[in-house]
Symmetry: C2
Subunit: 163 residues, 2 copies
């Protein structure tokens, strides 16, 4: 894989983003969203009002995407929240990690002073380890809060780090 | 105070609900919302799509309100989330506790198997104690996640109970 370029998404990226989101949403093992979510609804979720959306490109192909938003409003607006997704064919190439590191800088640049993940499915061990490697720690455990399509009820973690 | 009647809100209750929400939102010490939120935006938040909204009446006066929704979708849709607010002139009369107990039954009736509060400001000790008395436990601590207008950065708690 060549150099990774992470940039703001434009509307012409929507097809590529949906190609990345669809298999993971359909599998239903990591994001708390309906497995049969439509393309339109999924993109509305990813590009929700207030979200900044980024894509990671390698050799002119989009191989990952993430969004950033304020996790709360008012007195909670200094804490960022992100959702990340890598293309399946590009797993294991460090794209998620690169996006996470990029998001920490982008969040600082926007004045956020912390970042929170509200719902990291505990059986998604790859993600848990990656966020921990990026400085996040588990600050909460939601018991049985996720019905995994294979494992049944599993815990979800709240993860947090200062910026 | 006479008997408390808790029922579904109707559109004619919106003025009474706003009268309850406004002083607390303006104070900005408990909900992570802009202190200058408009009536329209506050009611849109309380009556967001998917929310069930209830009011508590005593002697034909609305003295409290709460909303209930699924905290997540898809694999997380079995966990309810509520927001409660009592009229300031009725504080100390057990209205919040009555609404919380009502909400636990209403959530069970809707098939929810747990309830989560995502953001209980730690300095709101009255609320923390009340939810604990209603069976909630602190399952997470979000460090400095709330900028309190008087106290500065304070923790927020994630609270949870099975139903």
């Amino acid at each position: 894989m060549g150099e990774l370029n992470i940039r703001h998404a434009v509307s012409g990226d929507r097809d590529a983003i949906w190609r990345i989101l669809e298999p993971t949403f359909r599998e239903g093992a990591t994001y708390p969203l309906p497995r049969d979510i439509s393309r339109e609804e999924a993109l509305a979720y990813w590009f929700a009002p207030g979200n900044a959306v980024f894509v990671a490109e390698a050799e002119a192909t989009i191989v990952g995407t993430y969004y950033m938003r304020a996790n709360q409003r008012g007195g909670g607006a200094h804490v960022a929240n992100c959702g990340y997704m890598s293309a399946r064919e590009a797993f294991g190439r460090g794209i998620a990690r690169a996006m996470c590191m990029h998001s920490l800088d982008a969040a600082r640049a926007r004045g956020f002073t912390a970042m929170q993940s509200n719902f990291v499915v505990s059986s998604n061990e790859r993600a848990v380890k990656l966020w921990q490697a990026c400085g996040f720690r588990i600050v909460g455990t939601l018991p049985g809060a996720f019905m995994h399509p294979e494992h049944g009820a599993v815990d979800a973690f709240v993860m947090f780090r200062e910026l």
